[in-house]
């Protein structure tokens, strides 16, 4: 504070004695914004150091033909070879396709389940507080724990899923969940849906609770039945929240690493290798840091473009 006092002195007329205790007179309208910048400064510095600078390094790296990077080492010449390789590599297009498929399957399932559950527990019944607590519980389970649970459920010899399928007569031999491409994709999707749907329920519930009861009363007076009330009031009022939730869910699937990596490692035959997994594998299994950065940069651009397209100008309300 003392320091600010000395800086401030030339600009301030003598502060009143009572205010002087606090040094710089930030209550004055002409000074108030200084306090604003001052409070923002630590966050700006931290973000610059741990997010912006690394991001800059990544983009820079994606234009160099580098393996394991030493930051002290002189910069390699500028090249677009990473991007050229990327766009001509079938692996990249495969990863795009897998990412796209996963997003579609997981998001739709999360929404059907999540909105349904949200509507269900929004009804009035005894014990609904407990029910709401329970339906959102998987959201609180760490991803790695979800992976442990589903890796065991999908175990090829003694897993519950195989037993269940055989019991239902759907298959007659056990499925090797993690060595068959389609089955592995399904296992990943199921795990992600279980972990991801409660978020949709939580948001749906929050959205439902912000609809004023008056809307429904007015509609009842006008003679609208339950279905009409749902179509004309509930859904339109829910739309903004659902839009934001959808963007968040899609981004989550887009970026997720731990569930897929620990469950399948991107295999078998790259059937579950999304862009995120590909980025990590190129960087830390093959140590092609430049190439991996290029994949990452493309992923980031896709993320930003997709979310901007979906929410347009209202991005600020996302979080």
């Amino acid at each position: 504070m003392n320091q600010h006092h000395t800086i401030a002195r030339p600009f301030t007329p003598r502060p009143a004695p009572a205010r002087r205790r606090f040094g710089l007179d930030l209550a004055r309208p002409s000074r108030r914004h200084w306090l604003g910048y001052l409070l923002l400064a630590p966050a700006v510095v931290l973000i610059a150091l741990i997010i912006i600078y690394p991001l800059f390094v990544s983009v820079d790296m994606s234009f160099q033909n580098v393996g394991l990077v030493r930051l002290g080492a002189p910069r390699r010449p500028f090249t677009t070879i990473n991007y050229e390789r990327l766009f001509t590599s079938p692996e990249f297009w495969m990863a795009c396709w897998v990412t796209f498929k996963l997003i579609v399957v997981v998001t739709i399932s999360c929404f059907v389940l999540g909105v349904g559950t949200g509507l269900l527990v929004n009804n009035k019944f005894r014990g609904r507080a407990i029910a709401r607590l329970f339906v959102a519980l998987p959201w609180a389970v760490p991803e790695i724990v979800a992976v442990v649970i589903f890796a065991w459920i999908f175990d090829s010899s003694f897993g519950l899923m195989n037993w269940f399928f055989i019991k239902l007569g759907l298959v007659n031999t056990t499925i090797n969940w993690f060595s068959d491409p389609t089955a592995a994709f399904a296992a990943v999707a199921v795990t992600m849906v279980w972990k991801g749907y409660p978020f949709v329920s939580i948001m749906t519930l929050a959205g439902l609770q912000s609809i004023p009861e008056d809307f429904y009363n007015a509609a009842r007076v006008d003679g609208a039945n339950a279905w009409q009330r749902f179509i004309n009031i509930t859904l339109p009022c829910l739309m903004p929240v659902l839009g934001v939730t959808m963007v968040l869910t899609i981004l989550w699937v887009f970026r997720d690493f731990s569930i897929i990596y620990v469950l399948t490692g991107g295999g078998p035959l790259k059937a579950t290798q999304t862009l995120s997994i590909m980025t990590y594998e190129q960087a830390f299994s093959f140590f092609k840091m430049g190439y991996a950065s290029a994949v990452g940069v493309v992923t980031l651009i896709l993320c930003v473009v997709a979310s901007r397209l979906m929410v347009g100008r209202s991005t600020e309300s996302i979080y």
Partner: protein
């Protein structure tokens, strides 16, 4: 009257079925942890062990440095939440109360930072931390987790401060408080639930991280976090499912307890931004 009660019965049936299906995986994890190893290799599966094997927890703690891993997870979470809260409280307050040139665009940038794939950021951070000699040290993930928490907590706190009327500080300043004094003495105490929710959610984010821990802490077991430790218990050929399940229970428990007690605040904070 009859139509109403049958509707009510249908509702209960729906709720019970939904909760049952959705909670079953968690139930199955606990059952697996408490079952003796040989009964797991048995079909049809047993949905409740004859004798719950509580000794499993002692067994895994004796065989693996699980308390150490949990301790590392706690240290990493406390460190990253501490740093993040320190900068985010000020930044969130500033974004909520001041109209600054560049404020909105900074806010927008912070939002974009939330979209960064961890798998992209992990590459340059690996290089930077290696040069700083932080690879293998908990400091690497404390800083890396701050990249996850700061953008999120700044926005959550901004949203929370927005709900507190400005008249509160104005009244305090009329009474002779400085702007900073008004923030510390009036606004922060009022915002305690929001601060707690944000800190806890940050804790959950750090606790659940796998990508950064997997990349930065590989060299020495003693620095592993619990999440990383668990994944190494999955064997290439044989996995002791009861052991890994018991470890997973220990990792999930703190977060589930936090969630059960603070659901209202956590969920309230999370949805505050979206409802606007």
């Amino acid at each position: 009257m009859r139509a109403r009660s049958s509707r009510q019965a249908l509702l209960y049936l729906g709720v019970v079925l939904t909760c049952g299906v959705l909670l079953f995986p968690i139930y199955w994890l606990v059952v697996t942890a408490l079952s003796p190893a040989d009964s797991l290799h048995h079909l049809p599966p047993k949905f409740w062990p004859d004798v719950p094997q509580w000794g499993i927890f002692r067994e895994i703690i004796e065989q693996r440095p699980i308390p150490l891993w949990l301790g590392n997870s706690i240290l990493a979470a406390l460190g990253s939440v501490g740093i993040s809260m320190f900068v985010s409280v000020f930044a969130g307050y500033s974004l909520s109360r001041f109209r600054l040139r560049g404020g909105p665009s900074l806010g927008l940038f912070i939002l974009t930072a939330k979209m960064l794939p961890a798998t992209l950021l992990v590459i340059p951070l690996f290089g930077i931390f290696r040069q700083l000699g932080l690879i293998g040290s908990l400091w690497s993930i404390i800083l890396a987790h701050a990249t996850l928490i700061v953008p999120f907590s700044t926005w959550m706190l901004k949203g929370y401060f927005d709900t507190i009327p400005r008249e509160l500080e104005q009244a305090a300043m009329v009474d002779g408080c400085s702007p900073l004094g008004a923030m510390f003495r009036v606004i922060l105490p009022v915002a305690t639930p929001g601060l707690a929710a944000t800190a806890l959610y940050g804790f959950v984010l750090s606790w659940s991280d796998y990508a950064y821990a997997r990349t930065f802490l590989t060299n020495s077991q003693t620095n592993w976090t619990a999440n990383l430790g668990i994944t190494t218990m999955k064997g290439e050929y044989i996995t002791n499912w009861n052991q890994i399940s018991a470890a997973a229970v220990l990792v999930a428990l703190p977060i589930i307890v936090i969630y059960l007690f603070l659901e209202r605040y956590l969920v309230g904070g999370l949805t505050a931004g979206a409802e606007k």
